[in-house]
Amino acid sequence: MSLRLPAFPFDNRRVVGALFLAPALLYILLIVGFPFLLAIAFGFSDVTVGNTDLNFVGFRNFEAVWDNAIFRQVFETTIRFTLISQVFILLFANILAIIFTQDFTGKWFARFIFILPWATPVSLAMIGWLWMLDTKYSPIDYLLLQTGFLGPGGILSKDRNLFWLASPDLAQISVIFVQVWRMTPLATVILMAGLSSIPTDILDQAEVDGSRFMRTLLLIKLPLILPIMVIALLFSMITMFGDMTVVYVLTRGGPVDYTRVLGLYSFQVGIEGGNLAQGAAISLFAFPLLLAMAIFMLRTASRAEVR
């Protein structure tokens, strides 16, 4: 005779599942969903920072933003910075993930040091970089000057400084470099998780079959972690596409408009300029692109997954 226990709501998998999901859903609704809906409402209104009455104006703000030559240039810069950064992030993250999944002395310390750029608050880290790349007192310039690369007769420049954040080319390189420095640890950690999850019997089998390092890497490891690599890339791209802190602290978009990105321009127009409606419209232009990118990448990841 079996004992039949009374029905309990938590016995129902659907109820338990919903309960477990609830905090995450609530978080997304409050932190992401509500501001997103608010941004849409702002984008279709004439709201200003001083007057938050929502008067519907149709697509006027979106038309004005699209007609704005600065916006088009900023949009192009944002895409360019994001794509170039991702190439380097993916390359470095793969190399570092492979290194950090090997056994060597001091591995845990090396991992700890390496994760710091990601763990450090971004504004704090950028103040550090602002000093490193200072137009007059950059320690990098000082080292180059001492080693004869800068100054009279210098190979890189006759000046005593390279003007990292003032020269159009170097300012762009600096911003991309700092973004790569900041985002690579996250991508590396995700890839390390992917590499650790590869069943050891597959790797053992490859070893028994005489597969060497590069062959194992290119034909076994990378294909197996491709889905997770796509996720790492997606995280990194979305974070960078919407970021404004790096350029806000380092260059404020200059010189000229070379480092002005979408997040910064939206902030300058919407908050600093008081034109909240157009600021919202500027930021919303990123949404369709990011959505399409996310769908494409998630589908790619799903197809690449080994079932």
Binding site: D46, T48, V49, G50, N51, T52, A64, D67, N68, A69, I70, T135, K136, Y137, D159, N161, F163, W164, L165, A166, S167, P168, A171, T251, R252, G253, G254, P255, V256, D257, Y265, Q268, V269, I271, E272, G273, G274, N275, Q278
Partner: protein, 444 residues
Amino acid sequence: MTSIIRTLIVLTICAAVSAASAAQDGFPDGTEISLLQWSHFVPTYDEWFDAYTREWGAANNVSVTVDHVNFTELPTSLAAEIDAGQGHTIIELPSSPASLVQGLHDLSDINSQADALFGERRHHCKAVTYLPSVGVYYGFAAGYALNHGNYDIELWAAAGYPEGPKTYEDLLAGGRAIFEATGIPVGIGISPEIDSEIANREVIWSFGGSVQDESGNAVFNSPATVAAVKYLAQLQNQAMTAEVFGWTGASNNQALVAGAASFILNPDSAYRSLQKVDRPAAANIGFTPALVGPAGAFGGTHAFISVIPAYVEGSQLQAAKKFLLDLAANYSEITYHSELFNLPCFPGTVTELDSWLDDDPFGSSPADKFAVLKTAIDRSVNFGFPGFSNPAIAQVYAEHIIPKVIAQVALGEATAEDAVALAGERIEEIFAHWRSLGLVGSGG
């Protein structure tokens, strides 16, 4: 008409009596005000100011707290507090918050009282607190900092200008000669930040150009602006390094203290920084008023604009207004403790100013180094000159359109005519937007 004037006089007297009565009796128990303002360039000023607020609070039965933050954070803090409907009672900003006018109290009453109590007011102080299109004083400015030339006396004397440059022609010729001979450049920023924005506008005004006219019409695209942009590009190419494209709020100070610029445009804070670390080097710095261009000489100002957000009510509002009026009355103390950085919008409040400028109480060598500022004061104008500051002017600044145009031309990426025309289109769009909201115009 007579009855309106009579009513206005009665109301003014009532307000003055009410303020005087409040001063005598103090405010109701529990009245609190909080201030948010920038960390002053002269650190001892903040110490004096905090002590002053405590004394004022004790005398008026008001609890006063003061928060000091970096000046770049103030506009966004104010915007956030207005949207939240709570925050500080008084916020002091170094730039006009005209775009927030609908979230701020109309301070016409204390502006009228200040006019009656303190007499003449510098027009540029009114122009950054009054929005003519809606007839509202959204702020109250009792003081400002004045941009002026700071030059290396030895370098300029060697170049044949013992009293420094007086015109923009002098600046180009002398600055170029010094740069070629010593490698020390002129330091005028062409970068998206406040010092560059003011310095760039000074040149444009002096060449006869401007962002708007007196009535708030966008007029940036003009031959005068093109000429000014060409001049600045030439100055950059011949007398400055690429550093000016990455100029920051600290660059003027850094350049002067390091002896790495022959000329900068800045209030006296950079000089005072140098004076504290190297008196002989400071003695080698001379001041010039705004340089003369083809259309005159116009010096930029940073007015210190106090605003009271609309969420402030009751006795708190009355206490805040009284605090601002009392502070204006005490501007002599402010000018002194800021080491002559803060100058009065109401000259009558600092009767000692001329004697301080003639004989610097903070040990400048020569003692009359600041005397030249008397001329500089007469050349001072506001950020939106020749019109009033308004939300469109604020957005043109926020988008950093002007330094961008000049940098484009200096880098050879566009002709001055094309760059100014393109920027002019964007500026017209911005003005059209704010005009459609009724917040631009009628300033003439």
